[in-house]
């Protein structure tokens, strides 16, 4: 919390600098003395892990950009040049490609933790929205990054996603042409995607600064959802949180390294090792795994424009969450019913991801034919995604507002330290 600064400059230089630019004070107040609730669990380590991910992506990306050629004729070969001829180029590229997936694993855990413990509730709405902006920028960055190797999935993914804008009435086609910089996905598109792919991570870094600033104004939420009331409830960030975050980061890096060194292509698609060919459409265009739930929502709606709106609406719901949830209690630890709906939501998201990877008309249970409704058999992935989509929106638009009004939460503790320190208050 942005309270009184306890920083005392120790050396002459620090005293001199502190009067002119109190940057050491800022660092001290933010990352050393900053009080963190003492009961944070490991779900709270993903903020630090995410900043590590951003750092890895930016550093590996800057070096990759030194060897990459953003043109339709040379992009694929330049990526393979990186893989084969650049010293440790394979390491950089696998780090960067798998790093994107690791980034999304971490951000999804971070977001779901926020939902579970009510971290978006007052006074943390702006903090939450800044997080959503980061997530949106991440999605744009990841999408454009996936286009850069100029393989078949890059090209066709770019074609499908940019074509979504053509669903908008009147201006749709003009917007699509403007995005492409031509009349098809081609060199102009690739080149601008490269430019933006380089720009957006720095915008992410900027919003991260705002996100951390907002966090340090309102203070961290914690598993009880009760704000710290006294010194007994908190511990200084350093060394308590730094060492815990460091340990979690190191574990996360182990997972990351297993992917980079032993299964670097597990999260990719084989078709992206085929050079882009506008004349050959792959039999099955799928986005990267982290977009699959939204892809399933898009395809669940039979109308193209409505599908696009539903997909963007799914993200808009996350933005609106602070005002959709009416509960007075933050943490779901004390909301047994909310917990249940949350876990069903989690399953619905995974099911949506599962559906996004399948052809819509494939059967969920092989060999079973049932009623055909809205042009599709009920035993199909498109119907499974329709049900899950309904739950996705139902969770945000019905469960969240209504549950808070009708549920009976469990009693919440007075202070953080009362459950933590076994009730002996040290106020």
């Amino acid at each position: 919390m942005s309270g009184h600064s306890t920083y005392e400059p120790k050396t002459g230089f620090e005293r001199w600098l502190d009067v002119r630019l109190p940057i050491v004070r800022l660092g001290y107040d933010s990352f050393v003395d900053y009080p963190t609730p003492r009961n944070l669990n490991y779900w709270w380590t993903f903020g630090g892990i995410l900043s590590l991910c951003l750092g890895v992506q930016i550093i590996s990306g800057i070096v990759l950009a030194m060897h990459y050629t953003p043109s339709a004729g040379a992009a694929f070969a330049s990526v393979e040049h990186i893989m084969r001829d650049v010293n440790y180029g394979w390491l950089l590229r696998y780090m960067h490609a798998n790093g994107a997936s690791m980034f999304f694993i971490a951000v999804y855990i971070h977001m779901l933790r926020g939902v579970y413990y009510g971290s978006y509730k007052a006074p943390r709405e702006v903090l939450w929205i800044l997080g959503c902006v980061i997530y949106l920028l991440m999605m744009a960055t990841a999408f454009m990054g996936y286009v850069l190797p100029w393989g078949q999935m890059s090209f066709w993914g770019a074609t499908v996603i940019t074509n979504l804008f053509s669903a908008l009435p009147v201006v749709g086609q003009a917007i699509t042409t403007w995005l492409w910089g031509g009349f098809a996905v081609d060199s102009a598109t690739l080149n601008r995607f490269f430019s933006l792919h380089y720009l957006l991570p720095f915008m992410i870094a900027g919003v991260v600064v705002l996100h951390v600033w907002a966090l340090h104004v309102v203070g961290q939420n914690n598993p009880t959802g009760i704000d710290p009331k006294s010194k007994a409830d908190t511990l200084p960030f350093t060394p308590y949180a730094t060492v815990k975050d460091g340990f979690a980061m190191s574990l996360f890096l182990i997972l990351f390294a297993v992917f980079i060194f032993f299964m670097p292509n597990a999260m990719g698609h084989p078709d992206n090792y085929i050079p882009a060919n506008p004349m050959v459409t792959p039999p099955h265009i799928v986005p990267e795994w982290y977009f699959l739930p939204f892809y399933a929502i898009l395809r669940a709606i039979p109308d193209k424009l409505m599908g696009v709106l539903a997909m963007f609406g799914a993200i808009a719901c996350i933005f609106a969450l602070p005002w959709l949830d009416t509960s007075k209690v933050k943490s779901m630890r004390y909301r047994p019913q909310a917990k249940l709906y949350f876990f069903i939501f989690l399953v619905a998201c995974v099911v949506l991801g599962f559906c996004g990877a399948r052809l819509p008309d494939d059967q969920v249970i092989p060999g079973l034919k049932t009623l055909s409704v809205m042009d599709s058999d009920l035993n199909s992935f498109v119907w499974l995604s329709r049900i899950s989509t309904a739950y996705y929106f139902g969770y945000f638009l019905l469960v969240m507002p209504l549950l808070g009004l009708f549920e009976k939460p469990l009693p919440t503790p007075e202070t953080i330290s009362s459950p933590v320190l076994g009730g002996d208050k040290k106020d």
């Binding site: 003492r38 009961n39 944070l40 070969a77 393979e80 893989m83 084969r84 394979w90 390491l91 696998y94 579970y116 511990l235 060394p239 308590y240 060492v243 815990k244 460091g246 340990f247 190191s250 574990l251 890096l253 182990i254 390294a257 297993v258 980079i260 060194f261 032993f262 670097p264 292509n265 597990a266 698609h269 084989p270 078709d271 090792y273 085929i274 039999p283 099955h284 799928v286 795994w289 699959l292 917990k339 876990f343 989690l346 399953v347 995974v350 099911v351 991801g353 599962f354 990877a357 399948r358 052809l359 933590v420 320190l421 076994g422």
Partner: protein
Amino acid sequence: MLRKVTLFAVALALVAGPALASGKVREPHPVAFSFEGPFGRFDQAQLQRGYKVYREVCASCHSMNLVAFRNLGDKGGPFFDPKYPNPNDNPVVKALAADSQIRDIDGETGDAIQRPGIPADNFPAPFPNDPASRASNGGVLPPDLSMMAKAREGGPEYIASLLTGFVTPPAGLTVGPGQHYNPWFPGDVSSAWSGDHAHVPEGGFIAMAPPLAPDKVEFDDGTKSTVRQQAQDVAAFLMWTAEPKMEERKQMGFSVLIFLVLFSGLLYASYRRVWRNESH
């Protein structure tokens, strides 16, 4: 509860992975390749045999644009010799390069010429351009093989299965001219199938005729040259061309993992020590 559901979600996500495959196609035969698993390495003798199959059979139709002769002598490559850390000095690599004719431009006259290859040259393509390649191959472009083992579902096992998988088409399946039935080749044969439409044969039609035959390639190390052997050897070679840095990658992976595990242990000990007097 949270833990159980998370585990369930992770398990579901893992099941969703293989779902990316589409179409009805036969699963590749499992092959115990030497390079599989975290400790797997390429078998140099197999890579050499695979190179021979590629050079004598595949290379007459397929290009391999991303691989240079010098790569053959790189660490982990088929003709790596520790005596020649610079593959450009490796006499085997030099000889193999010189066996090929490279299209070039005469620096003095500007005429198109052919000259013997040097280690720095990439493998020459069998045709000067794609239309020429199509014209000589029944209108179908034989794909570049550099990345084949990574660009197909199933990788090297798929390649080995496909190359040995030219079976007699089932009765009721009309195979068009210039086409060959292969149950491992992704495709859809339902329009050529006159039998029960609930049981359309797996696989598809491929324009490539069965390329391998017993003793078609003579192996210098005396290995019996069966179709199966040739197919597996060339599949291993194609895995190497697609992922030439695999051995270096796995080796570094072990150092990194050992470091990270020790480092995590150290951090955990620090964490316990820092928090020893604090309840949480």
